[in-house]
């Protein structure tokens, strides 16, 4: 057991180090600009005063190391600096939108994950059946579609033609829960379609990968039914790859949400990110990148730990 504990701690440490390095990357990316970063960002037409103001805002007048430690300390305390574009504190800009985005991602994830796992297992069970082939073509098509294409198709049919759902997800802090669900239904559906296809395909592949292994043939030769072979003998060993797939797709939700939010004018931080990128609002972009990266790293860490814990070779050492 101590071996496992050490492995898990190692992973945690590694995750922390990764996070630190990523924060350095995000912070230092500004340094990649040749010449004066403030001038570069504002363009040649900017007045010297505004350039100086930006330089001060980005603390460019201090040595990089001091700036980084200050920045990191401030971040840790929830102070993400102020936006260049409108001078508001970044934390204020982000906080309410972050909630909206998490709501949307959770909405999609709660539907997509169980659905996709069920369909993926079913496809593996009924390998080469009509259902499996149809599912394969459907999922391949779904993952080939750009998210905005799916989103607009949903708008065209469910909103414009049938008038079932609003095409614009107008959500304010005062919107009640049922209304929120209703208004964010279309964006959630668009996200669901995208990740369901991915998870389903990869779940099926993870299971089918095992089918050629001798112990699966042994299970058959012991007289296990196809259902028992998949649910008992294969699934237990496919757990780690499947968890990995799910986590990968949950992490994808965080980025896929950007496009869907733009299409549906959903007030999440994906849209804030896009706006800030086009305005080259560095502090906002840095803050959002850091938050998303942190989520992503944590999710992957979780998948890593699950695969350690579910591996009998590691759990029960010789």
């Amino acid at each position: 057991m101590t071996g496992i504990a050490r492995l898990v701690l190692q992973r945690l440490g590694l995750g922390l180090v990764t996070l630190l390095i990523v924060s350095v990357l995000i912070f230092w990316s500004v340094e990649l600009l040749p010449g004066d970063a403030a001038q570069e960002i504002l363009g040649q037409s900017a007045t010297p005063e505004t350039v100086a103001a930006l330089r001060h805002q980005l603390n460019l007048d201090q040595p990089p190391m001091t700036r980084y430690t200050h920045w990191l300390q401030a971040m840790a305390h929830g102070d993400f600096g102020t936006s260049i574009a409108n001078g508001l504190p970044v934390s204020k800009l982000i906080s309410e939108r972050l909630g909206n985005t998490l709501f949307l991602a959770a909405f999609a994830g709660i539907i997509a994950v169980p659905l996709a796992l069920m369909l993926g297992i079913l496809a593996a069970l009924l390998r080469n059946s009509l259902f499996d082939r149809a599912a394969s073509i459907f999922t391949l098509t779904a993952i080939s579609f750009p998210e905005f294409f799916v989103a607009y198709i949903l708008i065209l049919f469910l909103s414009v033609k049938l008038g079932l759902f609003p095409s614009i997800s107008n959500i304010t802090p005062s919107t009640d829960f049922a209304e929120r669900i209703y208004r964010s239904f279309l964006p959630a559906l668009a996200l669901t379609l995208a990740i369901t296809a991915h998870i389903m395909r990869m779940t099926r592949a993870a299971l089918i990968n095992l089918f050629s292994l001798p112990y699966i043939e042994m299970a058959r030769l012991k007289g296990a039914s196809q259902g028992r072979v998949v649910m008992v003998h294969a699934l237990r060993n496919a757990l780690a790859p499947i968890v990995n797939v799910v986590v990968l797709n949950l992490a994808y939700l965080v980025t896929g949400v950007v496009i869907v939010e733009v299409v549906f004018v959903y007030p999440g931080f994906g849209r804030l990110l896009v706006d800030s990128v086009s305005k080259r609002d560095v502090p906002v972009v840095q803050a959002i990148c850091l938050i998303i990266s942190m989520t992503y790293i944590l999710l992957n860490l979780f998948a890593d730990i699950v695969s350690i814990v579910s591996n009998p070779r590691l759990m029960h050492a010789k």
Partner: protein
């Protein structure tokens, strides 16, 4: 399940069995009309070389074909029940309960995620033959019967925590869990070392006898089958060659093919003309080697006389292949030195000169991974010639052709083939040609015959001996197979757990008194005598008591 048997009706009766396998969109026959009958309580041996269809028939006895294969005709009747074309549910219901299977690699055939006992009790409990508690108690009983160490406790381990030989016995125990009428043993000891094989064989035999279970024992090793089976059938290319009671088959085989299977074991390199003591080509002195922290070789010393064959013998984990890597410079030695023709070789191959590299060449065990699948024979054999000897154009072509002739492959046919267009034996020959292309002094042969069928292996040994005599080559022959050592070695080095146990001229090593380990190794080699195993176990019991 209704039993519809007159008392002496056969348990299993296979008639005109035909099975086809898919190869590039065409169905090719694998089993071509085989008849077979197994009586209750009888152990039936199926023997043959690779591609004989013996495993396929073994599985067919359970009404099972692998993916990519299909039943093309005939009948498989188990206790009066026709299995071919029977509903899947019926065939599944017979498995475990009445027919069980023991696979070649228990390590791969146990599910890594569950403890042995969980897998053992799965079907007795599922079929409601026993409660979980009863089934566990019975499992322990069977583990004891199969002479597993710590039978009360071993079932509660995961497969990776148990050794290969023990897993094989645990799998036999699992096959017996529902007390089936018939067990199919599919090469259950092939992957094991000889000393482990003995323990497993006698455990299986005693258990099968005491339960009175009928069995089909599939193997490529006649001597092993002879210990286990009452009757034997010899198969070749999916057809029956002959069938007889084991003793009859051994004493008077009727068919030439069967006789040729015996003949292999009698191959001996012809005696040398010059009995003069050879000069030393390579000196290995106090070599130590390790993979990281894990020490694998310590204090290895012996000489390789020029023009002679030194066989390095040992079981898996003895370090014999590591020694080859050290000599090649792939794993630089931690201590000691390797001397070639009076000069010390640098430990790593990167520091060795082209001339030094050329002197030592290697022939690999697995012909499949030894040849680049994307290169033609011409390039595989031609490259060392060009690289070391600088030949190009016509001279290169002529030399390449000459080499192919030397290894008895017609250049007109084989020069432009890809490895995938060659048989296993032909690939191995090309591997030899590649080694010879460098015009070396020493050739290291790492288990070169172990993945080949016996007849092919024999022709390979003949070829190697001929080439040695023609070119005054020195061989270091790494093998686990005592028969091969007897056939071609001049000197023998016995290794165990990274040290040399005993070394010397072959006649001395094979003449008693032996070192205890050499004794164990020699006595563990199955002999072509149905009483060998009984004799051996009786003797071991006497010595231990």
């Amino acid at each position: 399940m209704p039993r519809q048997d007159p008392p002496d009706a056969p348990l299993l009766s296979i008639r005109d069995l035909r099975i086809e396998g898919k190869a590039q969109d065409a169905w090719l026959p694998i089993v071509k009309g085989v008849d077979l009958t197994v009586k209750r309580g009888e152990v039936f041996g199926l023997i043959g070389e690779s591609g004989a269809g013996k495993s396929t028939i073994g599985l067919a006895a359970m009404g099972f074909v692998r993916d990519g294969c299909r039943f093309a005709g005939g009948s498989v009747k188990f206790d009066g029940i026709e299995l071919i074309g029977a509903p899947r549910k019926l065939r599944r219901g017979l498995r475990s309960s009445r027919i069980a299977y023991v696979a070649q690699s228990a390590a791969a055939s146990f599910n890594p995620a569950f403890r042995l006992i969980d897998q053992h009790v799965e079907f007795p409990v599922l079929r409601r033959l026993m409660t979980r508690t009863e089934a566990e108690a019975d499992a322990v009983e069977l583990y004891r019967k199969l002479q597993l160490p710590n039978p009360d406790e071993i079932g509660f381990r995961y497969p990776h925590q148990v050794s290969g030989g023990q897993l094989q016995r645990a799998m036999t125990a699992m096959a017996m869990a529902c007390r089936p009428d018939l067990i199919i043993f599919d090469e259950p000891t092939t992957a094991l070392d000889v000393t482990t094989q003995i323990e497993v064989l006698s455990a299986i035999r005693d258990a099968v006898q005491s339960l009175g279970t009928a069995a089909i024992y599939v193997s490529h090793d006649l001597a092993v089958v002879a210990q286990m089976a009452d009757r034997v059938m010899v198969l070749r290319n999916g057809e029956t060659i002959e069938e007889a009671p084991t003793r009859t088959m051994l004493s008077s085989p009727r068919q030439d093919y069967t006789k040729s299977l015996w003949a292999v074991r009698s191959f001996k390199a012809p005696p040398r003309q010059d009995a003069a003591p050879a000069s030393t080509l390579m000196k290995i002195e106090k070599v130590d080697a390790a993979y990281g922290e894990h020490k694998v070789l310590s204090g290895i010393s012996f000489d390789l006389p020029k023009g002679r064959t030194v066989a390095v013998v040992g079981e898996s984990g003895s370090g014999k292949s590591t020694l080859a890597r050290v000599i090649m410079g792939l794993l630089p030695a931690r201590g000691g030195r390797v001397e070639l023709a009076g000069k010390t070789l640098p430990p790593g191959y990167r520091e060795r000169s082209k001339a030094e590299l050329r002197q030592v060449q290697m022939v690999y065990q697995m012909a499949d991974t030894a040849l680049n699948p994307r290169q033609r024979v011409r390039e595989i054999v031609g490259r060392p010639i060009r690289f070391y000897l600088g030949l190009t154009g016509k001279a290169l072509e002529a030399r390449t052709r000459q080499l192919l002739n030397d290894i008895e492959l017609d250049p007109a046919v084989y020069l432009d083939r890809l490895p995938s267009e060659l048989s296993g034996g032909q690939k191995q020959r090309v591997g030899i040609a590649r080694a010879l292309a460098a015009d070396p002094q020493l050739v290291i042969c790492d288990e070169v015959t172990s993945s080949l069928d016996q007849l092919v292996a024999e022709s390979m040994l003949k070829l190697l001996v001929r080439l040695q005599r023609e070119r005054d080559l020195t061989y270091m022959f790494i093998t686990h197979d005592i028969a091969t050592v007897r056939a071609i070695a001049d000197e023998v080095v016995v290794m165990k757990e990274g040290v040399v146990v005993e070394s010397g001229p072959k006649d001395e090593i094979f003449r008693p008194p032996h070192h205890p380990y050499t004794e164990l190794l020699l006595s563990s080699v199955p002999e072509m005598d149905p009483d060998w195993l009984s004799r051996l176990t009786a003797r071991n019991e006497n010595t231990t008591v």
